[in-house]
């Protein structure tokens, strides 16, 4: 069971994540968008969306640090455990609260503003459920585990993080996850479901973060392509002559 939960299932989700994105990019570039609803409503969005997104950037950054950087490295830099956790908890709480507040505003908006609600697809609803669950569980772990110290002392940097790195290195150590507190287990599990759903939701827009804008020239010039004429690629077997 542990092998399925913390080896087979995560790899399945990861594979879906990767292959799904390739497929979606190949066949649905047109559907690859943020599907912004700002046109419908701006008063709530103006606060909710930046709160959520900037909070989320913080959360993702925190996860990258927490999961990918081994304790040995921070020890080497002379950062002791206490200092590390203080920074992590404060940073995590700030980002987490921004995310949750933003999310609450956005979900309230999505439900109550007529045009926004009717522009919500079923896939959006599923995605919101899982995303919300992941965020709430994550917040719970931070608050319950690190602040209230419910369920005893647990240092995820010796458990979950090591497992995650072993997972990415294709040498998974499921026993590390199996002994983690239930809150962490649930958070990781739901997160992997979300990863599997990811390529099929509007979350794909994360991978379009337009950083190239900072360096490209302002005005883009393009020729009508010469390798392909008209607006559709030629069908197979209809090669050009001459």
């Amino acid at each position: 069971m542990d092998t399925f939960l913390w080896v087979v299932f995560p790899y399945l989700c990861l594979a879906t994540f990767v292959v799904g994105h390739l497929w979606r990019y190949r066949y649905d570039k047109f559907g690859w968008t943020t599907r912004s609803s700002q046109l419908y409503e701006n008063r709530l969005l103006r606060f909710g969306s930046p709160l959520f997104h900037f909070g989320m950037l913080g959360v993702v950054g925190g996860h990258v640090i927490g999961l990918l950087i081994p304790t040995a490295w921070t020890d080497f830099l002379g950062i002791d455990d206490h200092a590390y956790h203080l920074v992590a908890v404060i940073g995590g709480l700030a980002a987490g609260i921004a995310t949750v507040v933003g999310m609450v505003i956005l979900i309230y908006r999505r439900r109550t503003v007529g045009p926004v609600f009717s522009a919500t697809t079923n896939m959006d609803k599923v995605m919101y459920a899982f995303l919300g669950a992941v965020i709430v569980l994550g917040m719970w772990n931070t608050i319950a585990g690190s602040i209230l110290n419910l369920g005893g002392e647990y240092n995820y940097r010796e458990g979950v993080s090591v497992w995650y790195r072993s997972f990415l290195a294709f040498q998974p150590q499921p026993e590390l996850m199996a002994t983690a507190p239930i809150g962490f287990q649930l958070h990781a599990f739901v997160a992997f479901v979300l990863f599997a759903l990811w390529p099929f939701t509007r979350l794909v827009h994360v991978f379009s973060a337009p950083l190239g804008y900072l360096t490209r020239p302002y005005i883009v010039y393009r020729s009508r392509s010469t390798d392909r004429l008209g607006s559709t690629p030629p069908k197979r077997g209809w090669d050009r002559v001459g």
Partner: protein, 550 residues
């Protein structure tokens, strides 16, 4: 010198009757889909009036276009790249649907379905966004023909400096129509604002397009365009804009709005320009100099050196020939009667306008004077500071001089042609009073008044060996409806887009030049994008009554 070619348009505002045919046919061709209900690539505004979206010209509010920084460089008014990326999660300057209008339909079904009763059933308006009942309070053209102008017109942004006077003299009101499409600017701020780089300017003909496969819905172009001519398709989550009907232009036929224009007031032709000078010209210090500086960017296609440079830049010979015959070049540079719309936005717009003399003429006629007499007209142009100031705010960033000069030319043309129409010799003194020769004046009159299709639209086809390729489109199946793909899963419009052109444009071009109509040319399916103005494809017009009776 880097020569580039630009497809450009001039509209002669005196001839616009405000019929909105251009808007409607454009909508039929391009934006009659879910998600684009409120989108008008072409719209016709009554001026003075608010425009569409409401008060779009107030750049203090919307922050579209460019500004000149103190160091003489251009910057996007809404802020640079970092600021754009930081505000990407909620664009603070994006107009909301209320600034356009909430699209609606009527619940016609109750008319048919309602049970018998003493009162008539009513088709209530339903919002196309939420499906709820709604009350209609605004729309794309609410202030058409100065409707409600007592309330609205005074808030017209262009009345800013002359507002007081206008309120005092509102009895002497004036009015004209301003049809607008995307300006296909030489220095487009929409493209500069797009974080994804999805908006591009075609290097062949300068048409500005949104790559639907690369647009990610960041909405920065919508606020970046000072003319508010990029719209957000709220179903597909992508930006869409006027395409200058590029599939038609590629085979040498004019845009749908021009083709169907009732007043025949639109001119399409090529302009050659020096791409290296654009930025410098857009950054001149004084707003009033922008009109002249933009004109200085254009290159004379008759100049042998320009021709050599054009060849070096890869512009085909037939395009240079077309540029020589371009009516747009004549109106902008030879006769100098066309002016750019809002040069002060510094995007170097390429749809220019011949300002209307009609506000002046109307007032003279209303006072019982001879509205074709040169003296009366000149005196009126002198006296009517309000309409002139208003036109200057629209076309020359408030500089009265060029507007004054154009109106004088138009007035002189009226007077000059009156003599000829009455069978007299034209009085060359009239022409010379505005710095033209009698022959020029007559030629200008011909171009403005009676020019035929071939003279109004001088459009070279996309380079010949490329044009035949458009035939390939005819093999597409038009049955696969817009979007296709996995609508439920990813939202409307997912999947590969249906190409805009589903008919054979080469065939269209042949029809265009044929002497008579083939039978049943369109197989009963009316696609206005492909309609060339000839014949009556079935289903386009209601059946004629006599035919019915027979």
């Amino acid at each position: 010198m880097r020569v580039m070619a630009q497809m450009a348009m001039v509209m002669n505002l005196d001839k616009c009757i405000g019929c909105h045919t251009c808007s409607v046919t454009c909508k039929q061709a391009w934006t009659n889909r879910a998600g684009t209900e409120y989108v008008w690539f072409n719209n016709v505004e009554t001026r003075p009036g608010l425009g569409y979206p409401r008060r779009y010209e107030d750049q203090d509010q919307w922050e579209g276009g460019w500004v000149r920084k103190r160091n003489g460089r251009l910057a996007l008014r809404a802020g640079g790249r970092f600021k754009k990326l930081l505000s990407i999660f909620s664009n603070p300057k994006m107009p909301s649907i209320e600034d356009y209008y909430e699209p609606w339909t009527y619940d016609y079904e109750t008319l048919v379905r309602a049970p018998a009763s003493d009162t008539f059933p009513v088709a209530r308006p339903k919002s196309l966004l939420s499906g709820e009942n709604m009350s209609i309070e605004w729309s794309a053209n609410w202030d058409d023909n100065l409707a409600g102008s007592g309330e609205h017109a005074a808030t017209d942004v262009m009345l800013k400096d002359i507002g007081e006077k206008v309120k005092l003299e509102f009895e002497q009101t004036f009015m004209f129509y301003l049809p607008r499409i995307c300006e296909h600017c030489l220095n487009p701020s929409c493209a500069a604002s797009c974080p994804s780089g999805a908006i591009y300017k075609r290097s062949e003909d300068g048409i500005v397009l949104v790559d639907q496969d690369r647009c990610r819905g960041w909405r920065m172009c919508i606020s970046g365009c000072p003319y508010k001519k990029v719209y957000f398709n709220h179903k597909t989550g992508k930006a869409e804009k006027c395409t200058f009907c590029y599939p038609r232009i590629e085979v040498g036929i004019p845009t749908v709005c021009s083709e169907t224009c009732v007043g025949r007031l639109r001119y399409i032709g090529l302009m050659l320009y020096d791409a290296d000078k654009v930025l410098e010209a857009a950054a001149v210090e004084d707003d009033h100099d922008l009109y002249e500086s933009q004109r200085s960017v254009f290159l004379d296609p008759n100049d042998p050196q320009v021709q050599r440079e054009a060849a070096a830049s890869g512009i085909p010979l037939d395009w240079v020939e077309a540029a020589k015959r371009s009516p747009v070049w004549k109106l902008i540079n030879t006769y100098k009667v066309a002016l750019p719309l809002h040069p002060e936005y510094r995007t170097m717009p390429m749809v220019w306008y011949i300002p209307p003399l009609s506000p002046v003429v109307d007032i003279i006629r209303d006072t019982g004077h001879d509205a074709e007499d040169k003296g009366n007209l000149f005196a009126a142009i002198e006296a009517l500071r309000i309409p002139i100031g208003y036109l200057a705010n629209l076309f020359t960033a408030g500089d009265i001089g060029p507007v004054d000069a154009v109106l004088r030319k138009l007035a002189a043309m009226r007077a000059y042609m009156r003599d000829i129409n009455l069978g007299d010799e034209g009085d060359d003194a009239i022409a010379e009073a505005v710095g033209m020769s009698g022959t020029d004046m007559y030629e200008m009159f011909r171009l403005l008044a009676i020019a035929k299709y071939d003279e109004r639209y001088v459009i070279p086809t996309a380079h010949a060996e490329q044009a035949h390729a458009l035939e390939e489109l005819a093999t597409d199946c038009p049955v696969s409806e817009y979007g296709g793909g996995q609508q439920d899963l990813f939202g409307e419009g997912s999947g590969t887009p249906t190409p805009v052109a589903v008919e054979n444009f080469r065939m269209l071009q042949d029809r265009q030049t044929a002497d008579h109509m083939p039978e049943n040319p369109m197989k009963g399916r009316v696609n206005l994008l492909n309609w060339d103005g000839k014949g009556r494809p079935g289903g386009l017009f209601p059946a004629r009554e006599e035919e019915d009776r027979r």
